[in-house]
């Protein structure tokens, strides 16, 4: 079950009870503490081959959102055209939905904060490739698509411009406190307060528009690793900080 990284002396293995203490202090690719308690799916741990100390981790979920609905905005386009006026404007739209229901997910991608950035990318790349190999070996429990959520950008004050421009108009309290209190459920509670019909991005503040779909700092290493593994932006963003959802089609894995 475990592979050893040739160059670095790394090993990919499953969860061990003693990992919990160390991983409890890490933050994942969405900037929050790992969900160690009621997490669905399988953990993959990249560890030092000699000491077995964890250096990076991820959680592989077969079908997300089947107990707690998962929300995201689909990012679409609408053209408003009037030939007589020479007008042809393409508007970006946001529509709240559960488009990822039932898809497979890479969650809780995280590294030891002691690992230097380039090593983080290498470690995560190896871990993601291992996850893809696992899916290829046993495709039964997985869907056609593998998605991953990435953190959106924050401003100097630590607030997400996308949140300030959208969510904050519908929920006045602190989203980070709510995330800490409710965990993953926070965003399905939030969804009940958000607009249900198509939104036009141009109604948001310029900062929020610019932040939409951008990769924030906590997700930088993961994004590089995911790109190297064939993941890309999938026209969806997170409902709180506007961070992008990336995905790759699993059907292609068999072509590799």
């Amino acid at each position: 079950m475990s592979q050893v990284g040739a160059a670095q002396g790394w090993q990919v293995r499953g969860w061990q009870v003693e990992d919990a203490q160390l991983l409890g202090a890490w933050r994942n690719q969405t900037g929050v503490a790992l969900n160690l308690t009621d997490a669905e799916g399988k953990w993959l741990i990249l560890a030092d081959a000699a000491s077995s100390v964890p250096l990076a981790c991820l959680r592989l979920v077969g079908n997300l959102g089947l107990a707690l609905p998962r929300f995201s905005y689909h990012v679409g386009r609408v053209v408003h055209a009037a030939a007589e006026l020479g007008l042809f404007r393409t508007q970006t739209t946001l529509l709240l939905g559960n488009d990822h229901s039932g898809e497979s997910e890479l969650a809780d991608l995280a590294c030891s904060p002691d690992l230097p950035p380039q090593m983080q990318v290498a470690a995560l790349t190896q871990l993601i490739e291992a996850a893809l190999q696992r899916i290829r070996a046993q495709p039964a429990g997985f869907s056609e698509r593998l998605m991953v959520e990435l953190a959106g950008p924050l401003d100097e004050a630590g607030r997400a411009p996308f949140w300030q421009g959208l969510g904050a108009h519908f929920y006045a309290a602190d989203p980070q406190a709510a995330q800490a209190k409710f965990g993953d459920a926070w965003r399905s509670h939030l969804a009940a307060l958000l607009p249900r019909q198509t939104l036009y991005l141009s109604f948001l503040s310029p900062d929020a528009q610019a932040a939409m779909g951008q990769v924030g700092a906590p997700a930088q290493a993961a994004a590089e690793a995911l790109k190297a593994c064939g993941f890309g932006y999938a026209q969806h963003v997170r409902i709180d900080d506007g961070g992008p959802v990336w995905e790759r089609r699993l059907g292609e894995i068999n072509r590799l």
Binding site: R89, L193, P195, L204
Partner: protein
């Protein structure tokens, strides 16, 4: 000014210079009269056709009235009716809508204000083109100018919709910039509000509305100035707006898609002037009992429509042929006229 000197009648080509004065005097976006001689002449001709046409209601008719002060022989105001908003095409408005979004877990329940692009008012009859010379704004003249239209509609109901609407100017600064337009229309239509108005001109707004989002606008996402402008009236529109409000028009449901001004609407039959309207016969034996009160009084002609202010007994069932109002309206014995109390509430009867 003597109220008996005021006469409302259909516009005539001879009124063109007066209309030009009105169009020039009425502020930007307030009057729907174009400040352009050729267009004004065309409006007068269209109105004359509408008043004269024998067959009822293609729906494209626009009727234009002028108010004359006969003591000076001068036109001191205008008002109009468009038979069918949108001319059988779509007439767009935003409808104010409120939805409640709640999250028990978060302990939050919000009443969200949204604007819903709709065609609800398509085909409604529109009251338009209200303008009164400021010197006449404080007497009963604006009442006659605005409300006589309702009695005209009542008498020729087959030409009009049973539901009546009127657009009212929204907030704009002196350069014509509108905070509502800046926050909404401009994002879809890359120009200033005055420019957009000029481009659309007398055209159907449907053309513009097709460029607007077809999903609701969530008001909390608009800048504060735009939120505040929703349903707000431009100060210059206060007089005609207040007359319509007293008639019983609803001002809370619809707003203009361009400037956010309130578009009022009502069922004709429920309007105050219409509820209190009654037909009087002109007959020799008409008795003159009862307390006199000021009334709107109109004859029953279409092309020869006349409306005046007249003092009549509130209980009158008929008027004598030599009653001064009958003479001013030119109604002959055996014919009818329609009247409606100017201030139907008893306590207000003493007003001019």
């Amino acid at each position: 000014m003597n109220p008996r000197d005021l006469l409302l009648r259909p516009v005539a080509l001879a009124d063109l210079p007066a209309l030009e004065r009105i169009a020039a005097a009425s502020e930007h976006g307030i009057s729907s009269l174009p400040n352009d001689q050729t267009k004004l002449r065309a409006r007068i001709e269209r109105s004359a056709e509408a008043f004269a046409s024998l067959d009822d209601a293609s729906g494209e008719e626009t009727y234009l009235f002028v108010l004359e002060d006969r003591s000076r022989g001068e036109v001191v105001g205008s008002s109009g009716i468009a038979a069918s908003a949108g001319f059988h095409d779509r007439f767009y408005s935003y409808r104010n809508e409120f939805v409640v979004h709640a999250s028990p877990a978060l302990g939050v329940s919000n009443r969200l204000h949204t604007l819903h692009l709709c065609h609800d008012l398509s085909g409604y009859t529109l009251l338009t083109s209200f303008y009164i010379d400021p010197a006449y704004a404080h007497g009963p003249a604006p009442q006659l100018l605005s409300r006589a239209r309702l009695l005209f509609i009542l008498q020729f109901a087959e030409r009009f919709n049973e539901r009546i609407a009127a657009e009212n100017p929204g907030l704009a600064d002196q350069a014509g910039q509108s905070p509502f337009w800046d926050a909404v229309g401009r994002r879809f239509f890359d120009m200033d509000y005055p420019q957009a108005e000029a481009v659309t001109g007398g055209r159907n707004k449907a053309f513009i509305a097709d460029l607007m989002p077809h999903s609701p606008i969530y008001v909390p996402l608009l800048p504060e100035a735009a939120q505040w402008a929703i349903g707000q009236l431009h100060p210059v529109g206060e007089l005609p707006f207040s007359i319509l409000q007293e008639e019983g028009f609803d001002a809370d449901t619809y707003i203009d898609i361009f400037d956010g001004g309130p578009t009022v609407e009502a069922n004709l039959a429920l309007l105050r002037s219409v509820r209190h309207a009654r037909a009087l016969e002109v007959q020799a034996e008409a008795a003159g009992f009862g307390l006199p009160a000021w009334h709107l009084a109109v004859n029953a002609e279409r092309a020869g429509f006349r409306a005046v202010l007249a003092e009549l007994p509130t209980t009158a069932q008929a008027l004598a042929p030599d009653h001064e109002a009958v003479l001013r309206l030119g109604v002959l014995p055996g014919e009818r006229l329609w009247v409606s109390a100017l201030w139907p509430d008893a306590s207000e009867r003493s007003r001019p």
